[in-house]
Amino acid sequence: MTYIAKPKFQHPGLPKNDLGFTHRDYEGKVSTLCAGCGHDSITASIIEACYELSIEPHRVAKISGIGCSSKTPDYFLGNSHGFNSVHGRMPSVLTGANLANRDLIYLGVSGDGDSASIGFGQFAHSIRRGVNMTYIVENNGVYGLTKGQFSATADRGSKNKRGLMNTDNAIDLVAIALQLGASFVARSFSGDKTQLVPLIAAAIQHKGAAFIDVISPCVAFNNHAGSTKSFDYVREHNDAVNRLDVITGRDPITVDYAPGTVQVVEQHDGSKIALRKIDADYDPHDRVGAMTFLQKHAAKGQIVTGLLYVDPDSDDLHAHLNTVETPLNQLGEKALCPGSAALDKINASLR
């Protein structure tokens, strides 16, 4: 985690991953968020997931919108290019970046204001296009940077710090993502690293639009009694459907958590997700079932977490557009310019 400044030198005995990188190589600048912010825990989980997957840090493009959550890409993967773009517009910027170079890993970081309010449209359309990305919403139900206004994910009936009640219905981005055809949909909790790290790792390896809604309490404006996004509330109402292990051909990330049956899901790139099922009836390949499950539990006031849906055979926007394997940003005049002879023919056809 990078909320405190650490010295540059490191202990020679620090564990290294397959590429010889330590955790430190995946860290970024010192966080400027409030101490105890759920977002910093998510940052730590992203670092952990990238470390575990042995990703080359500079091969990740981190793209965000505007808001507290959107500041976080500065706090992890310091050797990656980051883009803190325009409020609510991360999805379009990420889509464009992805079209330009299909070989990088795209990590979109957004918040509930960024994705459920101002950027609701862009969220929806990037999901339905199947952009190959990991889209993380750090969801605290509140506008932190502008000091505590309700966001569109705030539950009806929840109270803000001043005691005002939210009377608008909440948007559940997980339900929307399922409906829009996201091929990987999960929800987690910033305080549950054991569940979150493998989810992020699996999402990164997933080909297509992977969406993770992470409930992330705001210690400054949304961690009080009456809030449905506080640490206490989420812990009490969390209903996990499964626990993940991600197996990448090396030692699996073993999560010694709940017992139960294990189901292995092989993803497009050959990596495997082991689902430790808690709910015996839960089938993560059933989109309609996932939607029903979600609604039933929401009605009971339960926040369902875990991997809710995955399509292991999904495709992405590049497949839909039938683009060449070489990243478009690496094509030069030779590949792109038809030349004067072709132009002469075009001229002739226009006479």
Binding site: I63, P73, V86, V93, G96, N101, E333, G339, S340, L350
Partner: protein, 615 residues
């Protein structure tokens, strides 16, 4: 009423077709224009169409002009009145001595005609209905039948029309022969029943040369293909949609890998203009050449991103096919009304590069050049087309490409340069031109990464709210804009035959009308030096041109004299010295309008004596 003799003119007249939108007339009318071109006689056609798919009135105007006056002329010498809804207006628009061509199947009262024109009736519906039974065929072939009659009336060579039909329906023999049949039905009826030819005639000439006949939107799209654009994101809006459509079809022909069949481009129809420009900026940030095509309302929606492009210094190309605003304005009518909106787009202190093509050939060149400029200057480049250039076929010099030309990818620091220890500051002015180096994401494992943001930062892209750091960056952006002055297309000057104290500045689609107006003004005894501005920021020759003349007219197609305001503002010119000549009713500007407006002003200058100051 004095007897008006019928207009007699060879290769110099205007025919206007009044049709109902969606009746299939467009292809027949275009065939008419192309047929005249095949006679070696230049034409300049214009669509005048409503914001509608079916049912409302639409017009197609063909100016036949052996002298290659490609601007709109104004006035109609022959009206092909195929739309009863607009009959009265169409009839009134015919020049005295002109011709009215109509469907005479149903008798019309004499009050529905004019005495000073020649009325030509052809029973088109009767001919059509006696030949065809299928309603759709009846509608389509009626158009070809009137084309056949015009062929006889205007003394056109039917062989040339047949040849064109042959090219159009190559491989579809049934359609080919039935179209030729319909053509002759109309022609034969006219030859047998009417006095052919009339006073307006097409005579073979050799005045077309190697010129091509193309819409500006298609040419600009081709420029994007040649300029190396790989990502196009757009949202449908008239009159720019056909630019994105043309890019799609050009790419389908020219940009697929011959072995794998895969596409060397990505086109996304965005959910709106915000997403379109967002995709463009994301792709350009990541090193691809990307563009969007839009019109005024789209520009309004893109404002925030345009500011980001300016401040975070990310290349972007926006093709703005202008239409009449504000608000929804007149979506299918032309104007040059987004000059200020684009030059100063977005919040805060911003300035953007604008390119003003005059015709399809320049639309092609400027579109291709826009990608070099965007990457060299790392900012948004606007290609300012308009509906008149974009959506009309225009006779244009052939498109040219130098195979030795290389794309200017701008200042990009590579992995090798970073490994060699080059100092990388994303916003560091290393060459004194205000232009810093950038790196593409994923370039180097440990060097050259930076965090792109719209908030202020120092020369090394580190977040900073220090006033001096912010001001330092803003001043560098001014230096960069000054550097742009010498990179963009320069103004073109053409001097009058005799030395004169008066000049005229114009740009974009006004060019052909302006060139023609010069001749009309000379005939009235007025000499004018001309300067066609082709880009913003303005080259220093703009200020010197103004300094060299007592008065300079600034001709533009908007209400508020936007280019004039930009010149006054950017060059500190005394506004009194720039006389606005403004045309903004949504129709293309004409030589007659310009010559009248400037001529009247010049006449006043001549006759008005200096006022004596009484003490």
């Amino acid at each position: 009423m004095p007897v008006q003799s019928p207009i007699s003119s060879v290769n110099d007249f205007v025919v206007r077709f009044a049709n109902v939108n969606g009746s299939g007339s467009a292809s027949a009318n275009e065939l008419f224009a192309r047929s005249i071109l095949r006679h070696g006689v230049p034409v300049s056609p214009r669509n005048v169409f409503p914001s509608n798919i079916q049912g409302l009135p639409t017009w197609y105007e063909v100016r036949v002009t052996e002298d290659s006056h490609l601007g709109a002329r104004g006035g109609v010498d022959m009206m092909v009145a195929m739309n009863p809804q607009t009959w009265d207006k169409d009839l009134a628009s015919i020049e005295p001595g002109g011709y009215l061509f109509y469907d005479s199947t149903k008798p019309m009262p004499a009050s529905k005609f004019r005495a000073d024109i020649t009325v030509i009736g052809v029973p088109l519906t009767a001919i059509t209905n006696s030949t065809y039974t299928d309603p759709r065929q009846r509608q389509l072939f009626k158009n070809i039948i009137y084309l056949g009659s015009l062929c006889a009336l205007l003394d056109m060579d039917p062989k040339l029309v047949e040849q064109l039909i042959g090219e159009q329906y190559k491989g579809k023999e049934k359609l080919l022969s039935s179209n030729v049949h319909a053509l002759h039905l109309g022609r034969d009826w006219a030859l047998q029943n009417l006095k052919c030819p009339i006073g307006l005639r097409v005579r073979k000439a050799d005045k077309v040369g190697d010129r091509i006949f193309i819409e500006g939107n298609s040419a600009a799209a081709l420029g994007a293909v040649y300029g190396g654009a790989t990502v196009c994101a757009w949202y449908p809006i008239t009159p720019s949609s056909s630019l994105a459509d043309a890019f799609t079809s050009h790419c389908k022909r020219l940009r697929h890998d011959p072995e794998t069949g895969k596409a060397k481009y990505a086109i996304v129809q965005g959910e709106d203009e915000l997403a379109s420009i967002g995709i463009v900026i994301g792709a350009s940030w990541n090193g691809a050449r990307a563009f969007t095509a839009t019109s005024g309302p789209g520009i309004s929606l893109m404002q925030e991103f345009i500011g980001l492009s300016y401040f975070a210094e990310i290349p972007a190309v926006i093709m703005n096919v202008q239409r009449a605003g504000p608000s929804t304005g007149m979506p299918t009518r032309t104007q040059q009304c987004d000059i200020i909106a684009c030059a100063y787009a977005s919040h805060g202190d911003t300035k953007h590069v604008l390119l003003f093509p005059e015709d399809p050939a320049e639309a092609f060149e400027f579109a291709a050049q826009a990608f070099d400029l965007a990457e060299r200057l790392q900012t948004t480049i606007f290609v300012m087309l308009d509906l008149d250039i974009g959506m009309n076929h225009r006779l244009s010099r052939p498109l040219k490409w130098d195979d030795a030309r290389q794309y200017d990818r701008g200042k990009v620091m590579t992995a090798e340069m970073l490994s060699d220890g080059r100092d990388f500051g994303r916003y560091l002015d290393v060459d004194g031109d205000g232009i810093p180096f950038r790196t593409y994401p994923g370039t180097h494992p440990t060097k050259g990464s930076f965090f792109t943001r719209g908030t202020s930062r120092d020369r090394y892209a580190r977040y900073s709210e220090e006033g001096s750091v912010y001001a330092d960056n803003m001043q560098r952006l001014v230096r960069k804009f000054e550097s742009a002055q010498d990179m963009v297309p320069r103004p073109l000057q053409a001097n009058a035959a005799k030395p004169t104290k008066y000049g005229v500045i114009y740009f974009g689609s006004t060019a052909p009308a302006m060139d023609e107006a010069i001749g009309l003004l000379e005939a009235r005894g007025h000499q004018l030096d001309r300067l066609r501005i082709r880009a913003f920021p303005f080259h220093s020759s703009v200020a010197s041109f103004i300094a060299d003349h007592d008065f300079v007219y600034v001709v533009e197609q908007n209400r508020d004299a936007q280019l004039r305001s930009l010149i006054v503002n950017e060059n500190g010119i005394d506004p009194v010295r720039l006389v606005p000549i403004l045309h903004y009713d949504g129709t293309p500007i004409t030589a007659r309008f310009i010559a009248d407006a400037i001529g009247d002003h010049q006449d006043q200058l001549k006759v008005t004596p200096l006022r004596k100051v009484k003490s």
